[in-house]
Amino acid sequence: MTLTPRMEHGLVLLLVLMVLIPCGLVIAIVSEVPFREIPSDPAERVVLPDGYTVTLVNSTTWSLPGALGGKTYVIMDRNGNRVIVATQAFASAEERDAVIRVYNANAIGRGRQAGGLIVHGQYIISVTPADPDIIQAHRAAVASALSEI
């Protein structure tokens, strides 16, 4: 009987660790994107592959603290599928990270978000809908273009 409380505490500790270990796992896998100033809109550097056309470009400043402005691109493929890419620069890391929190909070039901979010320096790049062909098929090209900025 004297061992029981120790065992109980051990099991509680184990339970807490089992829940916290996955948090450590994601920190190890997904590295934090450092905040740095980017001279131009990162999406401008991405060359569209054949079959995709930009049908609309708007300059927009999101009504959010620290938002400095960006652009919204509406891209169509040959089949008429539409992808919306919105970029926005932020004045500080805190303001950029606050937007990431909002994005995380906007999952549909208990699932994923309807779009994807790329963090690049001071920029947030929002892509909707989730996982469009243009990103799936040209992931390396997009990553390479962004890395050059």
Binding site: M18, V19, R101, A105, A130
Partner: protein, 483 residues
């Protein structure tokens, strides 16, 4: 509605008042499932959101509602999914199902809490959303406040849920629908192309498959009323009707409110990174009632709290039952005079607070949170796969058990309905392992991380059962396999 019945029930030596009727049960499900957060996100899909909703309804909402109604009326015992899955697959299966539902909540809490805090900040002054101390303080007040409501037992929780759902979910959804109808009636232009039957068909291909998992779990939470069986006055009669009522309210509000937003706001303005309130602001500005944005933000904040409460209380009650039956150490089965599982509630609040702390103050956790969310999708799929499998198995293992409600069509009917649910959730589990397009690293790493995380969050029941001692069982608790 809600009134206190004279008779009580006793489980694990704790007297439980029968306070829940049809309306209260239905509102528990509505609180868990109906969320304003979903509307702008789904409105991006235009007319095809109807097709996506139909997929979610056919592959999940209808199956889980019917399966839940059959299981809750056949086995109206405490523990919800634990009691149901235990009947079919024993304590191990039941405990794993319940624990997956509980542990996925722990990871989900920070996201819903930050939704509550950022929406409240929008109502006060949006700059507050940038301040991590404001965010964390509001998150903790909401989290521990909801835990405190749960502490005062079923009656307090039910009052809060009933009022909160009406104010925080149904009124905002109704207002959005009314504004959409007004927009159409006033002859203002639609931002969507003209409707055609073909427009509602969603594009389903390899690139949209990961979204499939999200759609299947869009209506997750319909089983939440089952956790409150011990406090229900007439479960055999009220559960099926509550399932039907809540499903109808959820579908009508969700579809109509999403379409109302879709016809008014251009998709290019529905930017997920700027949040639900930005979309609501655009919508209300267009309707000329910008002054209502602040009050609407407060109502939606309340809706977020009610959504949190539904998920916070149900699985915790289930875990309390598991502990009473001797499957967890005695420290987990402590209940107060209101019948609330205080030990589980406090432990849950402590772990949730720790993860929230990391979420708000560590940018690396914040930026990587989508990966943790992917684990929660897998955990929920495990819960529902076990529930659908249980309703099928019990038709064979306990055919003579009185079931006031049964899925129509005999065994063929149960295979068809639960089979659809199984198909949807198994597919959702598989596509949930597909890395999102913005994940730059190796896809294998993503799959490994999600599977390892899911395993760690699902495996503690096996450890508890391995260490179980006869002395853990609370006097008066039922326990043991009944299959």
């Amino acid at each position: 509605m809600m009134s206190e019945a004279a008779a009580g029930d006793s489980a694990g030596g704790v007297s439980r008042k029968k306070v829940l009727g049809l309306f209260a049960l239905a509102m528990i499900n509505v609180a868990a499932v109906l969320s304003i957060r979903n509307f702008p996100s789904m409105a991006i899909y235009g007319w095809s959101c109807i097709g996506w909703y139909i997929i979610g309804t056919v592959l999940f909402l209808i199956p889980i509602s019917l399966a839940g109604a059959e299981l809750a009326t056949g086995w109206p015992e405490g523990g919800g999914v634990y009691a149901w899955v235990k009947q079919a697959f024993g304590e191990k299966g039941g405990f794993i199902a319940l624990f997956c539902e509980w542990s996925n909540n722990l990871v989900w809490f920070p996201t819903v809490l930050s939704f509550i805090a950022s929406t409240l900040a929008f109502a006060l002054t949006p700059d507050l959303a940038v301040n991590p101390w404001f965010m964390f303080s509001v998150m903790m007040i909401a989290f521990w406040g909801t835990t405190a409501i749960a502490y005062f037992g079923e009656e307090a929780s039910t009052h809060f849920s009933n009022v909160g759902v009406i104010l925080g979910s149904l009124i905002p959804a109704g207002l959005i629908i009314v504004l959409g109808v007004w927009w159409l009636g006033s002859g203002q232009g639609l931002v969507l192309p003209p409707f055609s039957p073909g427009a509602i068909v969603p594009a389903i291909d390899l690139s949209t498959l990961p979204f499939f998992a999200t759609i299947v779990l869009l209506f997750a939470g319909m089983e939440m009323a089952g956790f409150h069986a011990l406090e229900t006055r007439d479960p055999q009669k009220d559960f099926p009707r509550a399932m039907a009522l809540s499903a109808a309210i959820i579908v009508v509000c969700t579809v109509l409110a999403t379409l109302a937003i879709a016809v008014v706001i251009p998709a290019s303005q529905l930017n997920l990174a700027s949040g639900v309130m930005q979309a609501i602001q655009y919508f209300f500005n267009a309707a000329g009632i910008a002054w209502l944005v602040g009050p609407m933000a407060l109502l939606i904040t309340l809706g977020g709290v009610v959504n949190l409460a539904a998920w916070l209380i149900g699985p915790a009650k289930g875990l309390g039952i598991v502990a009473e039956e001797g499957n967890m150490p005695p420290m987990f089965d402590r209940t107060n005079k209101y019948g609330a599982p205080v030990a589980v509630l406090v432990l849950q609040a402590l772990i949730g607070s720790m993860i929230s702390l990391l979420y708000v103050f560590l940018p690396s956790v914040n930026q990587a949170y989508w990966l943790l969310s992917a684990m929660t999708v897998e955990l929920l799929c495990i819960v529902y796969i076990l529930v659908f499998a249980a309703v099928i198995k019990l038709r064979y293992s306990q055919p003579d058990r009185p079931r006031p409600f049964t899925i129509p069509g005999g065994k063929a009917g149960v295979w068809a309905i639960a089979g659809l649910g199984l198909f949807g959730t198994v597919l959702a589990f598989v596509v949930g392992l597909m890395p999102p397009s913005f994940f730059a690293a190796d896809g294998t790493l993503y799959v490994a991380a999600v599977l390892i995380g899911t395993f760690l969050l699902a495996v503690p029941p096996l450890v508890f059962l391995r260490c179980r001692k006869p002395s853990w069982k609370k006097a008066g608790a039922s326990g043991g396999d009944e299959s």
